[in-house]
């Protein structure tokens, strides 16, 4: 396949008319370029911009994992910003890979990372720009096989007809089995290859399964086994890249990410990541130090970020940070911690980090009262929050970000007032230490996500959410400039909920929205609620049918056949405990087991 001569096809004047043209050139430091021929070429696509896709740790792992196999060549593909998308369409240039500037349609396998439901129309945008038919049934052997991965695959049904197969779980475990089958079955019929792939654990081939609709008994073959996620037992033995592609243009997370642990022990009942990434596993400090050193040497990056769902839950976090700081000091490399628990221990850890000192701190109390925090199993007392905040301001920070959620199951007016009271108390404590103490508040909408104890819960109507946000806003006004408050578009939250809880009937809805011009739906400037509403109507569907109703335990769920290891009974039991405001302590392997079923 011939490389696309971009500078020959696009004039300097044209390329300068698009925003940030530097993200379309590739040629970065440490980019992997492999000569042809290989036995399997893989286009690794991220249905969002370069800046977001390049920040994603999973993409980095998969890219280097696949390229570590001699007979495989993996190249990156991102969705262009609409100005560049329009330019290449006008010029008749198909979407291309950054490494070889090869048409996406010329690859053997197209892998699409599904991180966020609002990116679903971008999957079609990507296929369209690549000249690849949308539906699996429309594609024969001339087209790449299209595989999806990532957290959205835990309910893949809304996008199932667009994909030939999905991989469920952690690519370090199992994805190379897919590669083996694809290499061995080269040239065979698509259906035969899919049948072979379906035998691999963690692979879901939607064409082999009857559609499962929300609340309806599934039709067809009941002997089909559930699809079980793959996960690695030992993070130390799992592949992790020792080099990274270093971009020229600045990206969202422009630093070395080192994943120190996977999974979370806390069990917050709204949190999908806390369920689907179970069990909690840690990478050893030795391995982390080894990775940090080789990654700093190979990339020259100025910052290492210790990535996990809750960094301060890492069992040897203090020693780890002390040792890493000593090791990285001569390189003038900073350490950052992205997700801090609300406790004074975490503040002490943050204090020791130069990078975190300069930037702001973010905490997520999630709810305004102890009662509602017990409902969601985020078991913090007001006192714990206050003493954490006191320590933050005493240590010299002036501005703190706080995340809350509204529309949580069981939420009452007192919980909203609780947020305001908590803010007042935090500011009072803050002012004792910092004359300019201020808070940055954000209130996201609760979204019922699959595989969580709240998967049965109805989402609150967006009008109610907006009213609650306005109420908070008016109550917070009394703090003047000390409190800045913002909330996202609740229209976006309701479409996110729709796609999270949806079934295969939504695939034509997604297609309709795309045809109406609905790309980049996770960007407020492009999101159009009206397009979604009219597309739903045209398919005789409604938000009410999907998200505004509470489901009984007996209701069949579109993702019932997908297993992340956590049992439906455990989730239901957690939901019942939430109704009784009962906490579930965090799990500790072997000592404090609540039988979620994953281990």
């Amino acid at each position: 396949m011939e490389e696309i001569n971009l500078s020959g096809l696009i004039s300097n004047k044209e390329i300068l008319s698009v925003e940030k043209p530097g993200r379309y050139i590739g040629e970065e430091i440490n980019v992997v370029k492999k000569p042809d021929p290989v036995k399997l070429s893989v286009a690794l696509a991220f249905p969002d911009t370069y800046e977001i896709g390049m920040s994603h740790v999973g993409m980095k792992i998969l890219y280097h994992l696949l390229n570590s196999v001699p007979e495989v060549r993996a190249e990156r593909v991102f969705v262009p910003w609409p100005d560049m998308g329009a330019l290449i369409s006008r010029k008749g240039i198909p979407l291309y890979s950054l490494e070889g500037k090869l048409p996406v349609a010329s690859f053997d396998l197209l892998g699409i990372s599904l991180q966020h439901e609002l990116n679903y129309t971008n999957v079609l945008y990507l296929l369209d720009l690549a000249g690849i038919p949308f539906y699996s049934v429309e594609r024969d052997e001339r087209f790449p096989l299209v595989v999806g991965g990532g957290p959205c695959v835990f309910n893949p049904e809304p996008v199932a007809p667009f994909f030939d197969f999905f991989f469920l779980g952690e690519a370090e475990e199992g994805f190379l089995e897919i590669v083996e089958v694809l290499v061995a079955s080269r040239g065979e019929k698509k259906q035969d290859r899919l049948a072979q792939l379906a035998k691999i654990e963690g692979v879901y081939v939607p064409s082999l399964y009857p559609p499962r609709l929300l609340g309806q008994e599934p039709q067809g073959d009941s002997s089909l086994k559930p699809v079980k996620k793959r996960w690695i037992k030992d993070l130390d033995r799992a592949f992790y890249p020792t080099t990274l592609v270093v971009p020229y243009v600045s990206i969202v997370h422009d630093r070395i990410p080192i994943e120190i642990s996977r999974g979370c022990t806390r069990g917050c009942r709204f949190c999908q990541a806390g369920m689907i990434y179970r069990p909690h596993r840690e990478r050893s400090p030795e391995r982390i130090r080894e990775l940090a050193e080789s990654l700093v040497r190979s990339t020259g990056y100025e910052e290492v970020s210790l990535v996990s769902l809750s960094s301060t839950d890492y069992s040897e976090i203090e020693t780890l940070i002390r040792d890493l700081s000593l090791m990285l000091e001569p390189f003038r490399v900073n350490i950052s911690l992205p997700s801090l628990r609300v406790d004074t221990f975490s503040v002490e850890i943050a204090r020791s980090l130069q990078r975190v000192r300069k930037s702001g701190l973010t905490f997520a109390p999630e709810a305004g009262t102890e009662r509602l925090r017990r409902v969601i199993n985020k078991n913090l007392t007001d006192q714990e929050i206050l003493s954490t905040m006191e320590r933050v301001f005493a240590a010299g920070w002036q501005d703190v970000k706080l995340y809350f959620m509204i529309g949580l199951p069981g939420e009452r007016e007192e919980d909203l007032i609780g947020i305001v009271r908590l803010i007042a108390d935090i500011l009072a404590v803050g002012k004792q230490h910092q004359r300019k103490a201020s808070l940055h508040l954000s209130a996201a909408a609760f979204i019922p996500k699959p595989h969580t104890p709240f998967q049965w819960v109805a989402q609150e109507q967006k009008e109610n959410l907006e009213e609650k946000a306005r109420f908070l806003s008016s109550q917070l006004r009394r703090f003047g400039k000390r409190v800045r408050f913002n909330w996202p578009s609740f229209e976006m939250s309701s479409i996110e909920a729709l796609l999270a809880r949806g079934d295969r009937k939504l695939a034509p809805v997604i297609e309709r929205v795309y045809r109406k011009g609905g790309i980049m739906q996770n960007w407020t400037e492009f999101f159009s609620f009206e397009q979604w509403c009219s597309a739903l109507e045209e398919e005789y569907l409604s938000l009410e049918g999907y998200i505004y109703r509470e489901l009984p335990f007996s209701a069949p769920l579109p993702w019932d056949f997908v297993s992340c290891g956590v049992s439906k009974e455990f989730l239901w039991n957690e939901y019942q405990k939430a109704r009784k405001e009962e906490p579930t302590p965090f799990c500790q392997e072997g000592r404090n087991c609540f039988g979620c079923g994953v281990c």
Partner: protein, 190 residues
């Protein structure tokens, strides 16, 4: 502290004319860390590597003469530096010259006396002499592959003038098309 000062000349050819000077600063920060060279840092709360660049070449303009200077804590043969950097850099960004200069020598910008640019135009057959701003003159006109190449010398007070602004000036006042290519060819020093 002993300081060893080096001056490097680097290419920034297509497609790297699409990355900004800010991107280049970040790139050099990382290249230096990757190289493990004894780079010197500025003092203060937020120490930065002692790196300085000539005037920024605007986005869209290629260059065969990007100049930068760095301070190291040890003497290292300039040619080894060049070789080392070129192992990391793509060839369109390669370092084509490296020399050591006296620590007290005047700064890059102060030493510049002229910059030569090459503009390539398509769709026009000849260059009609036009009244150029003081300090900018046409040095040479060439025809090559159906394009007209015009070489301009920016001197005197126009040394740091933006070639993009100049191309707009040509468009607006004399109707010349936007150049297909703009290349910074050479920087002349005093």
């Amino acid at each position: 502290m002993v300081q060893f000062r080096y001056r490097l000349r680097q290419w920034k050819l297509c497609p790297f004319h699409l990355i900004s000077q800010l991107d280049m600063n970040r790139l050099w920060d990382r290249i230096l860390r990757k190289s493990g060279l004894p780079i010197l840092y500025s003092q203060g709360f937020n120490p930065r590597p002692l790196l300085s660049f000539g005037p920024a070449t605007p986005l869209g303009v290629e260059s065969k003469a990007e100049y930068l200077e760095m301070f190291l804590g040890e003497a290292i043969p300039a040619t080894s530096l060049q070789e080392m950097f070129n192992r990391y850099l793509p060839s369109a960004l390669r370092v084509v010259e490296a020399v050591s200069v006296l620590p007290e020598a005047p700064s890059l910008v102060r030493e510049m006396k002229g910059v030569r640019y090459a503009f390539s135009f398509s769709g026009i057959s000849s260059w009609n002499g036009v009244l150029l701003p003081a300090g900018i003159e046409v040095q040479e006109i060439r025809r090559h592959d159906g394009s007209l190449w015009v070489f301009f010398l920016f001197g005197a007070e126009k040394v740091s003038f933006s070639p993009l602004k100049f191309s707009r000036f040509l468009q607006e006042n004399f109707g010349y098309p936007f150049p297909d290519k703009m290349i910074k060819e050479e920087v002349f020093f005093k």
